[in-house]
């Protein structure tokens, strides 16, 4: 009677789970497939039950229910196959899907019919010693093979889906698949244990052997949970809860097996202690999971913000540059005389506008560079180039500026370094920023640039190139030297001299040097004693 009640409870539980999933979203194909799967599982379990119940169905119908049992098994696993394929959203070409689907349906339908109507799958069906028995028909191997293909096919899709979701970091989907796999393993493990191991090595009753099939409820239960829940707790917490519950139940049963009051008290104490410890364990695991999820959410939000910021900076820079381009272009054409000759009185203010506009352009460029550097979006574009040519081009560009300030800018004792791998645009930017800096902070005198190979001993292979930029400018104290390469750092001298510039150039130069795995540093004997900047770039 107890065992008979179990089947009815399981049928109701399965049905409720199927309804719950369908109720959640009846339009989803996955939910429809699951509901169909649950219906078939219930029919299968009931059919398996009835095939050994002559008192309910009559002896003459036992064979029919046996055949139905075997026929339904095929459709249960056919639907399992489709469910797994649909759940992981793996689709092949439409043609392949069509052929595969139709072939499996045809084979399953054909073998199910043969199971019901002929003796090709099951033959010599007898009812002896209150158990139905049969012999395997000629098509039994084909039946078994199809069942195996459908079972393993579904498992393959789940495992594939697990790998894909892990690679693509779809955490929820990954957890769902893991739960379904766990349900499958528990069901399969239960069936193997009871119907293979126990039946082989022990004599078990019919009622016990039926539990091999009843284990399908594990699969139904875990799959329903995976489909319904929007947020999953993860397998570890579920297993922890299960384990605590099982041990708790065993300890409770142990309490009731006490023989005296002392034993009863002790076992109750043990149970309560265990339940408290179990509760605390589950709570700490839940907290850990919650913190991990919060971290993941925060990381996701930060990433989105970072991408939005980069996009904003990119668009803003582009939009800012457009009017700056127009101003630069028209001013230069006015100065050039394209629109008629300017008077001497007009030239100077228009030249000032041009210069101010150039400062604005450089500021936009620097801000864009910093944004890209900080978000890791700037890359080194390696190519072979001659360092001397890069440095000379910067010196040529800045000659006009140095002449306006009556300074001397020169490349002294140029040596021919071999071409080596560098990002010429970035090296140019480094040298330009340092020399431009030197021009700003030098009221009179000179700026001297020298290049040398390291080590200086020419018998040894060159490992790095050294650029030295020495000026006769204001010089720096130790405090300024320490913060020189930080962003928005102009030092007291910069403030005192009301020098233009936002203090970004040296910061950017340092980042570019770092990208080349080089070094940049500065020295100064003190205020009023000039400065020397060094840039060392490895030769590759």
């Amino acid at each position: 009677m107890l065992f008979d009640s179990v089947i009815y409870i399981l049928l109701v539980v399965n049905a409720l789970l199927g309804v719950a999933v369908l109720f959640r979203d009846s339009k989803q194909k996955v939910n429809q497939l699951f509901a169909g799967f649950v219906i078939l599982v219930n029919l299968w379990i009931f059919s398996n039950f009835l095939e050994n119940e002559p008192d309910i169905v009559g002896v003459e119908r036992l064979g029919l229910f046996l055949r139905l049992d075997f026929a339904l098994a095929l459709f249960v696993f056919l639907l399992w196959f489709y469910f797994c394929k649909t759940f992981v959203q793996l689709s092949h070409s439409p043609f392949f899907d069509f052929v595969l689907g139709r072939t499996l349906l045809f084979l399953s339908g054909a073998l199910a019919l043969l199971s019901l109507l002929g003796s090709f799958i099951l033959t010599d069906i007898t009812f002896q010693d209150n158990i139905i028995a049969f012999k395997q028909g000629v098509l039994w191997p084909m039946y078994a093979l199809l069942l195996l293909i459908l079972t393993l096919g579904g498992l393959f899709y789940l495992l594939w889906g697990r790998i894909q979701t892990k690679q693509e970091k779809h955490i929820l989907k990954q957890q769902q698949i893991e739960l379904i796999l766990l349900g499958f393993l528990l069901s399969a493990g239960n069936a193997v244990f009871i119907n293979l191991f126990l039946q082989t090595f022990y004599t078990i009753t019919l009622e016990i052997s039926r539990f091999g099939l009843y284990g399908m409820t594990f699969l139904v239960g875990f799959t329903a949970y995976a489909v319904i829940r929007k947020r999953l707790l993860g397998i570890r917490i579920i297993l922890t809860q299960l384990l605590v519950a099982v041990i708790g139940i065993l300890l409770l049963i142990n309490v009731f097996s006490s023989e005296n009051s002392l034993e009863y008290t002790w076992k109750t104490f043990l149970l309560v202690t265990f339940l408290v410890a179990g509760y605390l364990l589950i709570k700490s695991v839940l907290n850990e999971i919650k913190q991990k999820e919060e971290l993941q959410q925060t990381y996701k939000k930060l990433k989105e913000l970072d991408e939005a910021k980069s996009e904003f900076v990119s668009i803003a820079s582009h939009q800012l540059r457009t009017p700056l381009t127009a101003i630069k272009g028209y001013i230069s054409m006015l100065l050039e005389g394209t629109y008629g000759k300017l008077s001497a009185k007009q030239e100077k203010p228009i030249d000032n506008i041009y210069e101010s506009n150039e400062r604005l352009i450089h500021l936009v460029n620097d801000l864009l560079n910093i944004s890209r550097i900080e978000s890791g979006r700037i890359k080194v574009e390696w190519q072979k180039a001659k360092l001397q040519e890069v440095v000379q081009s910067v010196i040529d560009e800045l000659q006009i500026k140095t002449k306006e300030k009556k300074l001397k800018l020169s490349l002294e004792k140029p040596i021919l370094l071999p071409s080596f791998n560098m990002d010429p645009a970035k090296i140019r930017n480094i040298v330009l920023n340092i020399i431009d800096n030197a021009i700003r902070y030098t009221a009179e005198g000179s700026i001297t640039v020298t290049l040398s190979a390291q080590p200086e001993n020419r018998n040894l292979p060159t490992t790095s190139a050294l650029i030295k930029i020495q000026d006769t400018g204001e010089g720096m104290g130790q405090q300024e030297l320490q913060h020189l390469f930080e962003s928005f750092s102009r030092g007291r001298t910069g403030t005192k001299m009301w020098t233009e510039g936002a203090g970004l150039g040296l910061y950017i130069a340092k980042q570019f040097v770092n990208m080349h795995k080089g070094r940049i540093w500065a020295k100064s004997a003190g205020k009023g004693k000039g400065s020397t900047f060094f840039v060392q770039i490895p030769v590759q």
Binding site: R321, T322, T325, A326, M333, N365
Partner: protein, 124 residues
């Protein structure tokens, strides 16, 4: 009589179009202008300019698409193009160069006179 050099400027900012057109006309060049990618392709096929100055961000599409479609048309595939944009994107630059652009220039780096000198160097 020497043939007049022709240039097509594909640019949707009219202020910049006027500016560059003025400068190239001051050089004695014949200047065609297009404000969109599709108009640019149409004019390229009709006029077959000696060189094209192409912006990247156009209101009806991307300059890269212009380059892709130009490359597929054997009649206009060989016309040299210089990309001239304020979009400083390494990926776009790489794509443009792979599609045969002579150079990818940043607008704020060049005055119109410097641009004329650059464009002339590609015609020699």
């Amino acid at each position: 009589m020497a043939k007049q050099t022709t240039i097509l400027i594909v640019e949707d900012e009219h202020i910049l179009v006027d500016m560059y057109a003025d400068r190239f006309r001051a050089e004695g060049w014949k200047v065609y202008t297009a404000a969109s990618r599709d108009e640019g392709l149409k004019l390229t096929k009709q006029k077959k300019p000696d060189i094209i100055l192409l912006d990247i961000l156009l209101f009806d599409g991307h300059g890269i698409e212009f380059l892709q479609r130009k490359k597929q048309d054997p009649i206009i595939a060989d016309i040299p193009v210089v990309v001239f944009s304020n979009l400083e994107d390494p990926q776009t630059k790489k794509e443009a160069l792979e599609l045969g652009t002579k150079e990818y220039l940043l607008k704020t780096d060049y005055t119109p006179q410097e641009l004329v000198a650059k464009v002339k160097s590609y015609l020699k």
